[in-house]
């Protein structure tokens, strides 16, 4: 977390709360129960007011930022007013957007430069619910995505790959094309081995080399249909060469880490590297 925003940084964060109504089994920042809304809100106001006007993007996150309800809308509104040129990237589980009035308020507050990153863990509701740790989460998230689309708000789908969902990634890709073809892009994300992901490693950890084939089939299907697709957090050496073009340097600059073997790698500077916060390294890392 930064004290002040930087124009080009991809980690200008407004942290709304550490509470969450999902309990994702691979959560890297497990939610807390403290009532921190007011404290965070005041911090965020200071950050926004002191931010350079040229700031490219701010990320509103948590916990689940929409739990703040109207003060979440207020925050978006304030960013829009103080930083009219800045993109607002909200990371949310999307459930609160199943209320279309709330979505409409967000649209009014954020105007045209809001995009929402929503996690979708599976095409099968129960798998999504189990991974999110909340019954009914899938349906609310899906209805939320539809409401967002109806208001013309841009949507990024985020799929954190784990042992419970990797084998249905191709089916999930097909589901996205059939039901959510209007999303702006889809990101498949490698897991960070920290927080609950470490605690639940036995149940959920899976190595990229074990899911690469399902991942690539899913990426190919979406790409065939011209839905922009990206792979986050998976080092290039673990992906087939023809899929390198989908991988991005996705890890926040302050978290990125490289190994000694990476020094000899020809694509080190295009590679996302590893999470500095991860407890373990992926299997099969090598210089290429």
């Amino acid at each position: 977390m930064k004290e002040r925003f930087e124009i080009d940084s991809n980690s200008n964060v407004l942290f709304v709360t550490s509470q969450c109504n999902n309990h994702c089994i691979m959560c890297c920042q497990p939610p807390q129960k403290d009532d921190d809304f007011n404290f965070c809100f005041n911090q965020n106001i200071k950050l926004i007011k002191s931010a350079p006007k040229e700031t490219k993007v701010v990320c509103i996150t948590g916990g689940e930022p929409t739990l703040a309800g109207d003060s979440f809308i207020e925050l978006v509104s304030l960013v829009r007013k103080e930083l009219p040129l800045t993109d607002i990237h909200v990371l949310s589980n999307g459930r609160a957007f199943s209320d279309n009035e709330f979505v409409h308020k967000l649209k009014v507050a954020g105007e045209d430069k809001v995009f929402i990153g929503v996690p979708l863990h599976s095409d099968f509701f129960r798998d999504h619910d189990i991974i999110s740790g909340a019954k009914g989460a899938f349906n609310e998230t899906m209805l939320g995505i539809y409401n967002l689309a109806n208001e013309g708000i841009l949507i990024e789908l985020r799929i954190v790959i784990n042992k419970l969902n990797y084998y249905r990634l191709p089916q999930l890709a097909k589901y996205i094309f059939k039901n959510l073809y209007f999303v702006s892009w889809v990101a498949f994300m490698g897991m960070e081995d920290t927080g609950w992901a470490s605690k639940n490693a036995e149940t959920i950890w899976v190595e990229p080399i074990d899911y690469a084939s399902q991942l690539c089939r899913a990426v190919k299907e979406l790409d065939d249909w011209d839905i922009p697709v990206a792979i986050y957090n998976i080092p290039l050496c673990l992906l087939p060469t023809e899929y390198h073009r989908f991988a991005t340097r996705s890890i926040s600059d302050w978290k990125t880490r490289y190994l000694d073997i990476c020094n000899d790698c020809s694509v080190r500077f295009e590679c996302c590297g590893l999470f500095g916060t991860s407890m373990r390294n992926y299997q099969g890392l090598k210089a290429i």
Partner: protein, 466 residues
């Protein structure tokens, strides 16, 4: 498995697989016996179960929470209805400068009189077109040979442009010409208004010239295509083929001709059976031969694509779009409710409005069943008049005997005019319907390709339908 309830779906057996198809046309390929297992609640394959739930085949809820999403997708699939009539065909004349052996438009000599549209009727037709609520209006000029009536085309376009200053529709112009006599004036007009040229090319010269009844037809058509391309650009010139009996023996040669002429697709069109009941047996044989011709050609086209050349078969692409994508498909021959009147309308040279291209051809053999009114009549009386009302009762295949329980109706359409012309009854009798036989065979063939060679053909099909 949990307790679940069924959602509406149907199934078809292809190559020892059961293909389950829902109301949207989304499908799942399953082992034989799956439907029985679903109905008796004895599915043991957990992965299949998840697929059934996520694709709206079964649900664990009494009223599915995501039913609104299903409904929204269904509405999207029928989106072609939202805009109402967008394709407006103007039959300018019956005069023609060719003698095609299968001409269904009863074309007349180039010098004939009294078979061209009057300027007044053109004006009235264009005015009527603007009563259609569609934001996209396509004016398609047909004949005979419409390029023989350049003044009429100019008058039509100028009238439309004038009215459009107020109406603000997106106008598209198409000229259906044999390219035999594309004058510089004509091409200049095309350039000025971005008119798309749609020409007829039946294949290599030995097929094209025989079909078209002139020895120099192929040469002239190719020259016309090149001339039009040079003036307008390649993307403004497309070609259509009609499969004559002679053509049935040359599927690959015809495809090769299109590839070498620089087209990136071909529409393999069957002859329109106008011979009526008298020659029924001949048409039955033709239909079956066409189906095998079609399969051979599509197989060959897939091979071409595997060599890295983008080339698609248009009819298959339309059906595949319905099978593989969530989008709507506006193709008048495969719509339910039917494309006639809803999507296409014809203003004929005789000053009357007809329900479709086929309807005005019937009028040439004195069958005026689908004449909707005069171009000077009121829009409502024509588009919602007695003929339209009668057709409206039988133009949805969801409500037709033989269609309503058909598993692949979602990819097909209703065609009252065709059934009237071939069976004498616009309701139609599916067991002997040639259009039913043909569409079924083609749709089942595409499924069989997906079942048997999915990994190989699907990436190609996805490129075709984009």
């Amino acid at each position: 498995m949990r307790k679940y309830a069924l959602l509406p779906f149907n199934f078809i057996t292809i190559l020892n697989h059961e293909i389950l198809i829902n109301e949207l046309g989304d499908f799942i390929i399953t082992p034989i016996g799956t439907v029985q297992k679903i109905l008796s609640h004895s599915i043991s394959d957990e992965d299949l179960y998840k697929t059934l739930v996520s694709n709206f085949f079964v649900t664990e809820e009494i009223l599915p929470s995501l039913l609104d999403i299903y409904a929204s997708r269904l509405r999207t699939k029928k989106g072609f209805l939202d805009d109402k009539t967008s394709l407006h065909i103007f039959v300018l004349t019956l005069r023609c400068n060719q003698n095609c052996i299968y001409c269904q438009a009863s074309s007349q000599e180039e010098t004939s009189k009294h078979c061209s549209m009057s300027l007044e009727d053109m004006t009235a037709s264009v005015q009527m077109m603007f009563h259609s609520p569609s934001p996209n209006l396509t004016m398609e000029f047909q004949g005979g040979e419409p390029s023989l009536e350049i003044d009429l085309i100019r008058h039509g376009i100028e009238t439309a442009e004038e009215i459009n200053k107020e109406k603000n529709r997106k106008l598209t112009y198409v000229l259906c010409t044999n390219c035999r006599k594309l004058s510089d004036d004509m091409l200049e007009l095309c350039k000025q208004y971005n008119i798309l040229i749609s020409t007829s090319l039946d294949g290599p010269s030995y097929i094209h010239n025989k079909n078209r009844g002139r020895e120099d037809s192929y040469e002239k058509t190719i020259a016309g295509i090149n001339k039009a391309r040079a003036v307008l650009g390649n993307e403004f010139v497309s070609a259509l083929m009609t499969t004559s009996e002679l053509a049935l023996d040359y599927p690959k040669e015809i495809v090769d001709e299109y590839v070498s002429d620089g087209f990136n697709g071909i529409f393999l069109r069957a002859l329109n059976p106008y011979g009526l009941a008298a020659q029924n047996e001949d048409w039955k044989r033709y239909n079956q031969r066409f189906i095998s011709f079609y399969k051979t050609a599509v197989d060959y086209i897939i091979e071409i694509n595997k060599h890295g050349i983008f080339f698609r078969e248009e009819y298959a692409s339309i059906i595949l779009r319905k099978m593989l994508t969530p989008y709507t498909t506006g193709f008048v021959d495969l719509q339910s409710p039917a494309g006639t009147i809803n999507s296409v309308i014809v203003y004929n040279y005789d000053g009357y409005v007809y329900a479709s291209d086929e309807s005005r051809m019937l009028a040439e053999i004195h069958d005026y069943s689908f004449r909707l009114g005069k171009v000077t009549d009121k829009y409502e009386d024509v588009f919602c008049g007695s003929v339209a009302k009668r057709m409206g009762k039988i133009w949805a295949n969801e409500a037709l005997a033989g269609c309503s329980s058909c598993p692949i109706k979602v990819y097909c359409g209703a065609d009252p005019v065709r059934h009237h012309s071939t069976q004498g009854d616009m309701y139609g009798f599916r067991p002997t319907s040639l259009v039913c036989e043909k569409n079924k065979a083609i749709i089942e063939y595409l499924f069989s390709l997906i079942v048997e060679r999915g990994d190989e053909v699907l990436p190609i099909f996805r490129r075709w339908v984009k």
